[in-house]
Protein backbone atom coordinates (compact mmCIF):
# COMPACT_ATOMS: atom_id res chain seq x y z
CA UNK A 1 0.00 0.00 0.00
CA UNK A 2 2.38 2.74 -1.12
CA UNK A 3 -0.49 5.23 -1.62
CA UNK A 4 0.51 7.96 0.80
CA UNK A 5 0.07 6.28 4.21
CA UNK A 6 1.67 7.87 7.27
CA UNK A 7 2.61 5.55 10.10
CA UNK A 8 0.96 7.73 12.71
CA UNK A 9 -2.62 8.83 12.17
CA UNK A 10 -3.28 10.39 15.58
CA UNK A 11 -1.52 13.61 14.64
CA UNK A 12 -3.68 14.22 11.56
CA UNK A 13 -6.62 16.63 11.60
CA UNK A 14 -9.75 14.79 12.67
CA UNK A 15 -13.16 14.80 11.08
CA UNK A 16 -15.58 14.82 13.99
CA UNK A 17 -18.63 12.62 13.86
CA UNK A 18 -21.90 14.44 13.21
CA UNK A 19 -24.36 14.85 16.07
CA UNK A 20 -26.24 11.68 17.00
CA UNK A 21 -29.45 13.18 15.64
CA UNK A 22 -27.97 13.61 12.15
CA UNK A 23 -29.67 11.49 9.52
CA UNK A 24 -27.42 8.66 8.33
CA UNK A 25 -27.77 7.88 4.65
CA UNK A 26 -29.28 4.43 4.05
CA UNK A 27 -27.78 2.07 1.49
CA UNK A 28 -30.18 1.87 -1.44
CA UNK A 29 -28.34 -0.58 -3.67
CA UNK A 30 -25.21 -2.70 -3.77
CA UNK A 31 -23.71 -3.69 -7.08
CA UNK A 32 -20.94 -6.19 -7.76
CA UNK A 33 -18.66 -4.78 -10.44
CA UNK A 34 -18.34 -7.00 -13.51
CA UNK A 35 -14.80 -7.71 -14.71
CA UNK A 36 -13.68 -6.84 -18.21
CA UNK A 37 -10.56 -6.05 -20.19
CA UNK A 38 -9.81 -2.52 -21.34
CA UNK A 39 -7.23 -0.95 -23.64
CA UNK A 40 -4.60 -3.43 -24.71
CA UNK A 41 -6.03 -5.96 -22.27
CA UNK A 42 -5.66 -4.80 -18.68
CA UNK A 43 -8.25 -6.05 -16.20
CA UNK A 44 -10.79 -3.65 -14.73
CA UNK A 45 -13.88 -3.95 -12.57
CA UNK A 46 -16.62 -1.47 -13.47
CA UNK A 47 -19.35 -0.92 -10.84
CA UNK A 48 -20.93 1.84 -12.91
CA UNK A 49 -22.47 2.64 -15.23
CA UNK A 50 -24.53 -0.47 -14.56
CA UNK A 51 -28.13 -1.51 -14.26
CA UNK A 52 -28.13 -0.75 -10.54
CA UNK A 53 -26.07 2.44 -10.70
CA UNK A 54 -26.83 4.16 -13.99
CA UNK A 55 -25.98 7.63 -15.20
CA UNK A 56 -28.88 9.06 -13.21
CA UNK A 57 -27.74 7.60 -9.89
CA UNK A 58 -24.03 8.22 -10.48
CA UNK A 59 -24.48 11.82 -11.69
CA UNK A 60 -22.13 13.79 -11.78
CA UNK A 61 -19.95 10.68 -12.19
CA UNK A 62 -20.13 8.67 -15.37
CA UNK A 63 -17.91 5.64 -14.96
CA UNK A 64 -15.62 3.98 -12.42
CA UNK A 65 -12.94 1.47 -13.39
CA UNK A 66 -11.09 -0.33 -10.62
CA UNK A 67 -7.70 -1.10 -12.17
CA UNK A 68 -6.30 -4.37 -10.84
CA UNK A 69 -4.98 -5.05 -8.37
CA UNK A 70 -2.85 -7.17 -10.64
CA UNK A 71 0.65 -8.58 -10.24
CA UNK A 72 2.08 -8.50 -13.74
CA UNK A 73 4.69 -11.03 -14.80
CA UNK A 74 7.52 -9.75 -17.02
CA UNK A 75 6.13 -8.75 -20.42
CA UNK A 76 2.51 -8.78 -19.29
CA UNK A 77 1.76 -5.17 -18.31
CA UNK A 78 -0.83 -3.57 -20.54
CA UNK A 79 -2.04 -0.02 -21.03
CA UNK A 80 -4.55 2.02 -22.97
CA UNK A 81 -2.92 3.11 -26.27
CA UNK A 82 -3.88 6.34 -28.01
CA UNK A 83 -7.58 7.18 -27.89
CA UNK A 84 -9.76 10.31 -27.78
CA UNK A 85 -12.06 11.85 -25.17
CA UNK A 86 -14.52 14.73 -25.31
CA UNK A 87 -17.07 16.21 -22.94
CA UNK A 88 -15.90 15.09 -19.49
CA UNK A 89 -12.91 14.56 -17.16
CA UNK A 90 -10.86 11.48 -16.34
CA UNK A 91 -9.42 11.10 -12.85
CA UNK A 92 -6.69 8.48 -12.61
CA UNK A 93 -5.41 7.56 -9.13
CA UNK A 94 -2.63 5.05 -8.72
CA UNK A 95 -2.40 3.21 -5.39
CA UNK A 96 0.45 0.86 -6.29
CA UNK A 97 2.62 1.00 -9.36
CA UNK A 98 3.25 3.50 -12.12
CA UNK A 99 1.42 4.76 -15.18
CA UNK A 100 2.77 7.11 -17.83
CA UNK A 101 0.70 9.27 -20.12
CA UNK A 102 1.13 11.39 -23.23
CA UNK A 103 -1.31 13.61 -25.05
CA UNK A 104 -1.88 15.15 -28.45
CA UNK A 105 -0.88 18.60 -27.19
CA UNK A 106 2.61 17.39 -26.38
CA UNK A 107 1.99 16.99 -22.67
CA UNK A 108 2.79 13.97 -20.58
CA UNK A 109 3.84 12.73 -17.20
CA UNK A 110 3.97 9.94 -14.67
CA UNK A 111 1.37 8.93 -12.08
CA UNK A 112 2.62 6.82 -9.22
CA UNK A 113 1.91 5.53 -5.71
CA UNK A 114 -0.84 7.79 -4.45
CA UNK A 115 -0.62 10.35 -7.24
CA UNK A 116 -3.55 11.55 -9.30
CA UNK A 117 -3.92 12.81 -12.83
CA UNK A 118 -7.04 14.92 -13.24
CA UNK A 119 -7.55 15.46 -16.97
CA UNK A 120 -10.24 17.73 -18.31
CA UNK A 121 -10.84 16.42 -21.82
CA UNK A 122 -13.35 19.20 -22.49
CA UNK A 123 -13.43 20.05 -26.20
CA UNK A 124 -11.34 17.00 -27.02
CA UNK A 125 -7.92 15.45 -26.71
CA UNK A 126 -6.07 12.28 -27.67
CA UNK A 127 -3.96 10.55 -25.06
CA UNK A 128 -2.48 7.27 -23.97
CA UNK A 129 -2.08 5.71 -20.53
CA UNK A 130 0.68 3.16 -20.46
CA UNK A 131 2.83 1.11 -18.10
CA UNK A 132 6.43 2.35 -18.17
CA UNK A 133 8.89 0.17 -20.01
CA UNK A 134 10.45 -0.99 -16.74
CA UNK A 135 7.10 -2.32 -15.49
CA UNK A 136 6.56 -4.10 -18.81
CA UNK A 137 10.01 -5.70 -18.68
CA UNK A 138 10.19 -6.60 -15.01
CA UNK A 139 6.53 -6.95 -14.10
CA UNK A 140 5.12 -5.80 -10.78
CA UNK A 141 2.07 -4.72 -8.85
CA UNK A 142 -0.44 -2.34 -10.38
CA UNK A 143 -3.52 -1.02 -8.57
CA UNK A 144 -5.61 2.10 -8.94
CA UNK A 145 -8.83 3.47 -10.34
CA UNK A 146 -10.07 5.74 -13.09
CA UNK A 147 -13.15 7.85 -12.56
CA UNK A 148 -15.02 9.78 -15.26
CA UNK A 149 -16.59 13.04 -14.10
CA UNK A 150 -19.18 14.70 -16.31
CA UNK A 151 -19.00 18.33 -17.37
CA UNK A 152 -22.10 20.51 -17.62
CA UNK A 153 -23.15 21.63 -21.09
CA UNK A 154 -21.48 25.04 -20.84
CA UNK A 155 -18.12 23.42 -20.01
CA UNK A 156 -18.01 20.58 -22.51
CA UNK A 157 -16.09 22.79 -24.94
CA UNK A 158 -13.60 24.06 -22.40
CA UNK A 159 -9.96 23.67 -23.54
CA UNK A 160 -8.29 20.48 -22.30
CA UNK A 161 -6.14 20.76 -19.18
CA UNK A 162 -4.28 18.58 -16.69
CA UNK A 163 -3.87 18.67 -12.96
CA UNK A 164 -1.00 16.51 -11.84
CA UNK A 165 -1.58 15.94 -8.14
CA UNK A 166 1.42 14.38 -6.44
CA UNK A 167 0.86 11.98 -3.55
CA UNK A 168 2.43 14.45 -1.13
CA UNK A 169 -0.19 17.07 -2.04
CA UNK A 170 -3.07 14.83 -0.99
CA UNK A 171 -4.94 16.17 2.02
CA UNK A 172 -4.74 13.68 4.89
CA UNK A 173 -7.41 13.46 7.57
CA UNK A 174 -8.42 10.92 10.15
CA UNK A 175 -11.60 9.89 11.89
CA UNK A 176 -12.60 10.95 15.39
CA UNK A 177 -10.94 7.85 16.87
CA UNK A 178 -7.99 8.05 14.46
CA UNK A 179 -8.69 4.59 13.09
CA UNK A 180 -9.55 5.68 9.56
CA UNK A 181 -7.12 7.42 7.20
CA UNK A 182 -8.79 9.64 4.62
CA UNK A 183 -6.87 10.88 1.58
CA UNK A 184 -8.87 13.73 0.09
CA UNK A 185 -8.04 14.05 -3.61
CA UNK A 186 -10.70 16.64 -4.31
CA UNK A 187 -13.66 18.25 -2.62
CA UNK A 188 -14.27 19.09 1.00
CA UNK A 189 -14.51 16.85 4.02
CA UNK A 190 -15.13 18.19 7.50
CA UNK A 191 -14.33 21.70 6.31
CA UNK A 192 -10.95 20.72 4.82
CA UNK A 193 -10.33 20.79 1.08
CA UNK A 194 -8.41 18.43 -1.14
CA UNK A 195 -5.96 19.67 -3.80
CA UNK A 196 -7.99 18.86 -6.90
CA UNK A 197 -9.74 21.75 -8.62
CA UNK A 198 -13.16 20.71 -9.84
CA UNK A 199 -15.60 22.40 -12.23
CA UNK A 200 -18.62 21.33 -10.20
CA UNK A 201 -18.80 20.24 -6.53
CA UNK A 202 -17.17 16.80 -6.39
CA UNK A 203 -15.57 14.89 -3.52
CA UNK A 204 -13.12 12.03 -4.09
CA UNK A 205 -11.59 10.30 -1.06
CA UNK A 206 -9.48 7.16 -0.70
CA UNK A 207 -9.98 5.85 2.84
CA UNK A 208 -8.26 3.06 4.78
CA UNK A 209 -10.12 1.57 7.74
CA UNK A 210 -8.40 -0.40 10.46
CA UNK A 211 -10.16 -3.64 11.45
CA UNK A 212 -13.48 -2.78 13.17
CA UNK A 213 -12.91 0.94 12.57
CA UNK A 214 -16.07 3.01 12.30
CA UNK A 215 -16.36 5.89 9.90
CA UNK A 216 -19.17 8.37 10.40
CA UNK A 217 -18.65 11.64 8.60
CA UNK A 218 -20.76 14.56 7.46
CA UNK A 219 -21.80 14.30 3.82
CA UNK A 220 -23.60 17.27 2.23
CA UNK A 221 -27.24 16.50 1.49
CA UNK A 222 -26.93 18.05 -1.98
CA UNK A 223 -24.30 15.47 -2.95
CA UNK A 224 -24.94 11.92 -3.98
CA UNK A 225 -22.90 9.25 -2.22
CA UNK A 226 -21.23 6.09 -3.49
CA UNK A 227 -18.78 3.88 -1.60
CA UNK A 228 -16.70 1.39 -3.55
CA UNK A 229 -14.69 -1.32 -1.77
CA UNK A 230 -11.19 -1.53 -3.26
CA UNK A 231 -10.27 -4.33 -0.86
CA UNK A 232 -11.51 -5.84 2.36
CA UNK A 233 -15.07 -5.86 3.61
CA UNK A 234 -17.35 -4.00 5.98
CA UNK A 235 -20.84 -2.81 6.81
CA UNK A 236 -22.29 0.25 5.09
CA UNK A 237 -25.06 2.54 6.26
CA UNK A 238 -27.10 2.45 9.47
CA UNK A 239 -28.47 -1.02 8.61
CA UNK A 240 -24.95 -2.44 8.22
CA UNK A 241 -25.23 -3.71 4.66
CA UNK A 242 -22.25 -5.95 3.87
CA UNK A 243 -19.98 -4.78 1.05
CA UNK A 244 -16.91 -6.62 -0.16
CA UNK A 245 -14.05 -5.95 -2.51
CA UNK A 246 -15.40 -5.11 -5.96
CA UNK A 247 -18.78 -3.93 -4.69
CA UNK A 248 -20.25 -0.43 -4.71
CA UNK A 249 -22.93 0.86 -2.37
CA UNK A 250 -25.25 3.62 -3.52
CA UNK A 251 -26.55 5.66 -0.61
CA UNK A 252 -29.87 7.48 -0.30
CA UNK A 253 -30.47 10.93 1.13
CA UNK A 254 -29.24 12.06 4.51
CA UNK A 255 -26.49 14.11 6.11
CA UNK A 256 -23.92 11.53 7.22
CA UNK A 257 -22.06 8.63 5.67
CA UNK A 258 -21.39 5.56 7.81
CA UNK A 259 -19.15 2.58 7.25
CA UNK A 260 -17.60 0.02 9.58
CA UNK A 261 -14.77 -2.28 8.64
CA UNK A 262 -15.08 -5.97 9.45
CA UNK A 263 -13.03 -7.19 12.44
CA UNK A 264 -11.10 -9.31 9.99
CA UNK A 265 -11.48 -7.65 6.59
CA UNK A 266 -11.64 -10.18 3.78
CA UNK A 267 -8.89 -9.83 1.25
CA UNK A 268 -5.16 -9.56 1.01
CA UNK A 269 -4.65 -6.49 3.18
CA UNK A 270 -5.01 -5.74 6.87
CA UNK A 271 -7.41 -2.89 6.25
CA UNK A 272 -10.56 -2.15 4.36
CA UNK A 273 -9.76 0.19 1.47
CA UNK A 274 -12.61 2.21 0.03
CA UNK A 275 -13.30 4.99 -2.38
CA UNK A 276 -15.81 7.61 -1.20
CA UNK A 277 -17.48 9.54 -4.00
CA UNK A 278 -19.94 12.39 -3.88
CA UNK A 279 -21.02 15.26 -6.05
CA UNK A 280 -23.86 17.59 -6.89
CA UNK A 281 -25.79 16.03 -9.80
CA UNK A 282 -25.63 17.98 -13.06
CA UNK A 283 -29.06 16.76 -14.20
CA UNK A 284 -28.60 17.28 -17.91
CA UNK A 285 -29.33 14.90 -20.78
CA UNK A 286 -26.45 12.50 -21.48
CA UNK A 287 -25.52 11.19 -24.92
CA UNK A 288 -22.66 8.72 -24.50
CA UNK A 289 -20.80 6.79 -27.16
CA UNK A 290 -17.52 5.14 -26.21
CA UNK A 291 -15.05 7.85 -25.19
CA UNK A 292 -17.41 10.74 -25.95
CA UNK A 293 -20.00 12.05 -23.50
CA UNK A 294 -22.13 14.94 -24.72
CA UNK A 295 -25.71 16.15 -24.33
CA UNK A 296 -27.18 15.25 -27.72
CA UNK A 297 -26.81 12.66 -30.44
CA UNK A 298 -25.83 15.36 -32.92
CA UNK A 299 -22.92 16.31 -30.65
CA UNK A 300 -21.80 12.66 -30.59
CA UNK A 301 -21.80 12.54 -34.38
CA UNK A 302 -19.80 15.76 -34.43
CA UNK A 303 -17.35 14.35 -31.87
CA UNK A 304 -16.78 11.25 -33.99
CA UNK A 305 -16.29 13.29 -37.16
CA UNK A 306 -13.96 15.72 -35.39
CA UNK A 307 -11.89 12.84 -34.02
CA UNK A 308 -11.73 11.11 -37.40
CA UNK A 309 -10.70 14.31 -39.19
CA UNK A 310 -8.00 15.19 -36.66
CA UNK A 311 -9.75 18.21 -35.12
CA UNK A 312 -9.35 16.72 -31.65
CA UNK A 313 -5.63 16.53 -32.14
CA UNK A 314 -3.23 14.06 -33.63
CA UNK A 315 -0.64 11.71 -32.23
CA UNK A 316 2.63 13.64 -31.89
CA UNK A 317 5.13 12.64 -34.58
CA UNK A 318 7.72 11.60 -31.99
CA UNK A 319 5.22 9.05 -30.66
CA UNK A 320 4.37 7.64 -34.03
CA UNK A 321 6.47 4.66 -34.98
CA UNK A 322 4.87 4.20 -38.39
CA UNK A 323 2.99 1.27 -39.85
CA UNK A 324 -0.46 2.39 -38.75
CA UNK A 325 -2.26 -0.49 -37.15
CA UNK A 326 -5.69 0.41 -38.37
Amino acid sequence: MPAVTPKKWTTLPRVLEPDPGTVDRPVERVVTAPSLLEGAGFPVRRPFPSRAIGFREADPFLLLDHLGAVEYAPGEAKGAPWHPHRGFETVTYIIDGVMTHHDSQGGGGVITNGGTQWMTAGAGILHDEMPPEELVQKGGLFHGFQLWVNLPQELKWTPPRYQSLEAAETTLLTSERADVLMRVVAGELGGVKGPGVTWTPVTVVHASLEPSARLRIPWPRANNAIVYALSGSGAAGPAGVLIREGQAALFGTGDALTLQAAPVPEGPGERMEVLLLGGVPIREPIASYGPFVMNTREEIVQAFEDYQSGKMGTIPAREFHGGGDA
Binding site: G41, M130, Y289, Q308
Partner: protein, 101 residues
Protein backbone atom coordinates in the same frame (compact mmCIF):
# COMPACT_ATOMS: atom_id res chain seq x y z
CA UNK B 1 -8.58 8.99 -44.16
CA UNK B 2 -10.37 12.29 -44.48
CA UNK B 3 -14.03 12.37 -43.65
CA UNK B 4 -16.02 10.87 -46.48
CA UNK B 5 -12.93 9.74 -48.41
CA UNK B 6 -13.76 7.09 -50.97
CA UNK B 7 -12.34 3.64 -50.71
CA UNK B 8 -9.67 2.74 -53.22
CA UNK B 9 -10.38 -0.99 -53.17
CA UNK B 10 -12.21 -2.77 -55.98
CA UNK B 11 -14.57 -5.70 -56.03
CA UNK B 12 -17.95 -6.61 -54.64
CA UNK B 13 -17.43 -9.74 -52.55
CA UNK B 14 -16.21 -10.12 -49.01
CA UNK B 15 -12.74 -11.61 -48.87
CA UNK B 16 -11.18 -13.60 -46.05
CA UNK B 17 -10.72 -11.47 -42.94
CA UNK B 18 -12.89 -8.73 -44.35
CA UNK B 19 -15.73 -7.21 -42.38
CA UNK B 20 -19.05 -6.26 -43.93
CA UNK B 21 -21.49 -3.90 -42.26
CA UNK B 22 -24.80 -2.51 -43.46
CA UNK B 23 -25.42 0.92 -42.00
CA UNK B 24 -28.72 2.74 -42.02
CA UNK B 25 -28.85 6.45 -42.88
CA UNK B 26 -27.50 8.72 -40.15
CA UNK B 27 -26.47 5.75 -38.01
CA UNK B 28 -23.34 4.28 -36.54
CA UNK B 29 -22.25 0.68 -36.90
CA UNK B 30 -19.27 -1.04 -35.39
CA UNK B 31 -17.14 -4.10 -35.92
CA UNK B 32 -16.56 -6.73 -33.30
CA UNK B 33 -13.68 -5.89 -30.95
CA UNK B 34 -10.17 -6.65 -32.16
CA UNK B 35 -7.08 -7.19 -30.01
CA UNK B 36 -4.47 -4.47 -29.78
CA UNK B 37 -1.06 -4.21 -28.17
CA UNK B 38 0.63 -1.49 -26.15
CA UNK B 39 2.09 0.05 -29.31
CA UNK B 40 -1.19 0.33 -31.17
CA UNK B 41 -1.78 3.65 -32.95
CA UNK B 42 -5.18 4.42 -34.43
CA UNK B 43 -5.01 5.32 -38.08
CA UNK B 44 -7.01 5.55 -41.30
CA UNK B 45 -9.47 2.77 -42.10
CA UNK B 46 -9.35 1.88 -45.80
CA UNK B 47 -12.78 0.70 -46.87
CA UNK B 48 -15.01 0.26 -49.87
CA UNK B 49 -18.67 1.02 -50.04
CA UNK B 50 -21.83 0.16 -51.92
CA UNK B 51 -22.92 2.58 -53.38
CA UNK B 52 -19.36 3.15 -54.47
CA UNK B 53 -19.26 6.86 -53.64
CA UNK B 54 -21.14 6.66 -50.37
CA UNK B 55 -20.26 9.31 -47.81
CA UNK B 56 -19.21 7.45 -44.66
CA UNK B 57 -16.74 8.16 -41.86
CA UNK B 58 -14.71 5.37 -40.24
CA UNK B 59 -12.27 5.30 -37.35
CA UNK B 60 -11.04 2.94 -34.63
CA UNK B 61 -12.58 3.72 -31.26
CA UNK B 62 -12.46 2.13 -27.80
CA UNK B 63 -15.97 0.86 -27.17
CA UNK B 64 -17.55 -1.71 -24.91
CA UNK B 65 -15.54 -4.91 -25.18
CA UNK B 66 -12.44 -3.30 -26.65
CA UNK B 67 -11.20 -1.47 -29.72
CA UNK B 68 -13.63 -1.51 -32.65
CA UNK B 69 -13.90 0.02 -36.08
CA UNK B 70 -16.83 2.45 -35.98
CA UNK B 71 -18.46 3.72 -39.16
CA UNK B 72 -20.98 6.54 -39.51
CA UNK B 73 -23.26 6.77 -42.55
CA UNK B 74 -23.85 10.35 -43.69
CA UNK B 75 -26.04 9.25 -46.59
CA UNK B 76 -29.83 9.21 -46.76
CA UNK B 77 -29.83 5.59 -47.91
CA UNK B 78 -28.40 2.42 -46.35
CA UNK B 79 -24.76 1.78 -47.20
CA UNK B 80 -22.74 -1.44 -47.12
CA UNK B 81 -19.08 -1.10 -46.19
CA UNK B 82 -16.18 -3.55 -46.31
CA UNK B 83 -12.92 -3.22 -44.45
CA UNK B 84 -10.30 -5.38 -42.76
CA UNK B 85 -9.76 -5.50 -39.03
CA UNK B 86 -6.22 -4.81 -37.89
CA UNK B 87 -4.41 -7.82 -36.43
CA UNK B 88 -7.38 -10.07 -36.89
CA UNK B 89 -9.16 -12.19 -39.46
CA UNK B 90 -12.14 -12.34 -37.19
CA UNK B 91 -15.49 -11.90 -38.85
CA UNK B 92 -17.45 -8.96 -37.62
CA UNK B 93 -20.96 -8.28 -36.58
CA UNK B 94 -23.24 -7.10 -39.32
CA UNK B 95 -25.54 -5.39 -36.89
CA UNK B 96 -26.49 -1.80 -37.33
CA UNK B 97 -25.59 -0.02 -34.12
CA UNK B 98 -27.84 2.87 -33.14
CA UNK B 99 -26.64 5.14 -30.40
CA UNK B 100 -27.57 4.01 -26.92
CA UNK B 101 -29.99 6.47 -25.34
Amino acid sequence: MAAGMRNPHKGNGTSVGEVSLVINPGRFAMSSPFPIGNHYKPGPVPLRTDPADADVVAAPLPMGGGMRIVVYNRETLPVRVWFCLPFSDEDALTKDGPLPQ
